[in-house]
């Protein structure tokens, strides 16, 4: 009888040990103290921020859209905003995951697995440095974050000072349209970090009254709003010279628009226009140089 009980206790203990071993590693990570050492960032902006504050080496996983700095190319990619690969993410044993606020299901899964996460919310330009400082606090890299944020603020301040007092041209900031035509024009409309950058760089948003992050414009609206400057943003690699010329010429169809008449239609390329991270300074400088040439 006693032997049976002992055997039963032994097998129960063995089962419990196996269960403990199989427990999700992150659950153990939750009990860790100190700064996170295995970070997964699903957001290009926070990935760049971590590198800027000197914590980039702690990244063990990044999002599919992270392409800067070049060091990220060696890091495992675990999906993006809409398609995070939870299994791969968990297998990396992260002790902190940086997620978009809208990734509700992923956050629930992380909570169930006991993995801490940093909730990324972004609204306007001031949020860039604010997020950087908060992230610095969270990962235990406050001095680096403070230095990087201060540097960004100083350079943005210099741009603001340079364009101060100059008349702000009414600008149409185009995020995208159908190549080779003026169909499906999507533009800044009064809210968001690019709208803020435009104002900082000394422009006035010609759709500022709409109070939207972006708006799809009809040709009639472009004609009626009569922007003095049109700036088109292209993401990714720079366009070839002939493509730039061809796409700029497309606007000539709207001959009455002041920007077209005065040849103030500009095409700018670069990922810094879509990533509200440390490189936002480069975006602001490019816009300021176009709106108010030195």
């Amino acid at each position: 009888m006693t032997a049976t009980v002992v055997r039963s206790l032994r097998s129960t203990l063995r089962f419990a040990l196996i269960l403990l071993a199989l427990l999700p590693v992150p659950l153990r990570a939750q009990t860790r103290t100190g700064a996170p050492q295995r970070i997964v960032s699903l957001i290009p902006a926070t990935t760049e921020m971590l590198f800027a504050m000197g914590a980039g080496s702690r990244l063990v996983g990044i999002g599919n859209y992270d392409h800067f700095p070049p060091e990220v190319e060696k890091i495992v990619r675990v999906g993006g905003l809409l398609d995070p690969n939870t299994e791969l993410l968990l297998s990396l044993r992260p002790d902190l995951v940086l997620v978009y606020d809208s990734q509700v299901e992923l956050k629930q899964q992380l909570e169930r697995a006991g993995i801490p996460f940093f909730n990324y919310v972004h609204r306007g330009l001031p949020d860039v440095t604010e997020t950087m400082r908060a992230l610095g606090d969270r990962v235990g890299a406050r001095p680096g974050a403070e230095a990087a944020a201060a540097h960004i603020e100083q350079r943005l301040g210099a741009i603001r000072a340079r364009v101060a007092g100059r008349p702000a041209p009414r600008t149409l900031l185009v995020f995208g349209r159908e190549p080779g035509s003026l169909r499906q024009i999507n533009a800044s409309a009064g809210v968001g970090f690019l709208h803020d950058v435009l104002l900082l760089a000394g422009g006035a948003d010609v759709l500022g009254d709409l109070g939207k992050q972006s708006a799809m414009l009809s040709t009639e609206m472009v004609l009626a709003r009569a922007p003095e400057v049109i700036i088109e943003l292209h993401y990714g690699a720079s366009l070839p010279r002939e493509s730039i010329e061809r796409e700029r010429n497309v606007w000539n169809a709207l001959a009455s628009v002041p920007a077209v008449r005065s040849k103030k239609v500009f095409l700018l390329s670069g990922d810094e226009f879509v990533v509200p991270g440390p490189r936002i300074v480069l975006a602001a400088e490019q816009l300021a140089n176009v709106l108010h040439p030195r």
Partner: protein
């Protein structure tokens, strides 16, 4: 002659043919004139209305240089092309809907049913996602790729028609079309999956439909396939009447069923492809307009086809007018308005009639 029917043939087609004479023919003419007047009024009046107030006098004032005449530019660049595009697209989708419904003997058939619309959409998605940059005849890469996609789907549909010659039934044609549409939709989803955020946004917006074509080049380019499609459809009224009853019955009355079905399929598919590549997949027109017209004028295709073409044009011009003014200065995608306006009107007519 594509369709042959002996003069002594009795039966419903003959009866309709007889009914097409005298007072009934005058009624047909009267109805068509009514639809034509409505369409003409829509084409003439719609460009006068929009989110910006314009003065007609300034629009046609040649003493003002073109580059300084905002009113003329709004009229001739922003409004007139989209009204003409709406007329063509509405006309084409409505005709395609009539043909598919009669041919497949299914009231739920539409220009989307056999996958041509999905083929056009796939072409557009590929062009957007892979940043196509080729242009030709003043057309954007998206428009060109969309039309190529529709031609690809049309080829598959035509293959189905050939299979039909070997004895496949209308049901097989219909189910084959549904399978092609599902397959193409899956490929569209895959291409969208490959797209980045900006491209995904543009893909989604393209799928909602837009008539803001900005220039006349896409309209002129669409005229060739649409012209061919309209010629094909012009051969069909009597054949569709007979095919609606059944292909055996049509064959018994001397219709070369295989040949006429191919003409019908090719015409309706070509019209759909040209319309979708011009404006995106504007929903509801192809299914609702034929039914609305039948509720108003009966089922005779000699009346239903031209009336649907005219009413399709009017309906889409009206929907686009609502789309570009209701939340002015912003616009709604026209596909949303066609469904929101068309659905309740259709239900009202349906229940009023029954």
């Amino acid at each position: 002659m594509p369709a042959v029917s002996t003069p002594r043939d009795p039966g419903p087609a003959r009866a309709r043919h007889e009914a097409g004479r005298g007072p009934a023919r005058r009624n047909v003419r009267g109805s068509l004139v009514g639809f034509a007047v409505l369409a003409a009024a829509a084409i003439l009046l719609a460009p006068l209305v929009g989110s910006t107030a314009i003065h007609l006098g300034r629009v046609f004032d040649r003493s003002i240089p073109w580059a300084e005449n905002l009113d003329a530019q709004i009229f001739f660049i922003a409004r007139l092309p989209r009204v003409l595009a709406a007329a063509l697209v509405g006309c084409a989708l409505a005709l395609a809907g009539v043909v598919f419904q009669a041919l497949l003997r299914n009231p739920l058939a539409s220009p989307d049913t056999l996958g041509v619309s999905a083929g056009a959409s796939l072409g557009a998605m590929v062009a957007i996602t892979f940043n196509a940059s080729f242009t030709a005849f003043g057309l954007s890469p998206v428009t060109i790729a969309s039309f190529i996609g529709s031609l690809g789907a049309l080829t598959i549909v035509y293959g189905l028609a050939i299979a039909r010659r070997r004895g496949a039934s209308t049901l097989v044609l219909l189910l084959g079309g549904v399978a092609i549409q599902a397959l193409l939709s899956a490929v569209i989803a895959f291409v969208q999956y490959l797209a980045d955020f900006a491209q995904t946004y543009r893909n989604v917006r393209w799928l909602m439909g837009s008539l803001d074509v900005v220039s006349y080049a896409p309209i002129v380019a669409a005229l060739l396939p649409l012209g061919l499609a309209f010629i094909g459809v012009a051969m069909l009224p009597r054949v569709l009447d007979l095919l609606s009853v059944g292909s055996d019955s049509a064959a018994a009355r001397g219709v070369d069923v295989v040949r006429m079905e191919r003409i019908a399929l090719a015409s309706a598919s070509l019209a759909t492809g040209a319309a979708v590549s011009l404006a995106g997949p504007v929903s509801f027109i192809g299914i609702i307009v034929p039914h609305l017209v039948r509720l108003m004028v009966g089922a005779n295709h000699r009346l239903v086809l031209p009336a649907s073409a005219l009413f399709g044009a009017t309906f889409l011009i009206a929907c686009d007018l609502v789309a570009r003014t209701i939340i002015s200065p912003l616009e709604l995608p026209v596909g949303i308005v066609t469904a929101l306006v068309g659905g309740p009107v259709f239900l009202w007519l349906l229940f009023r009639r029954t």
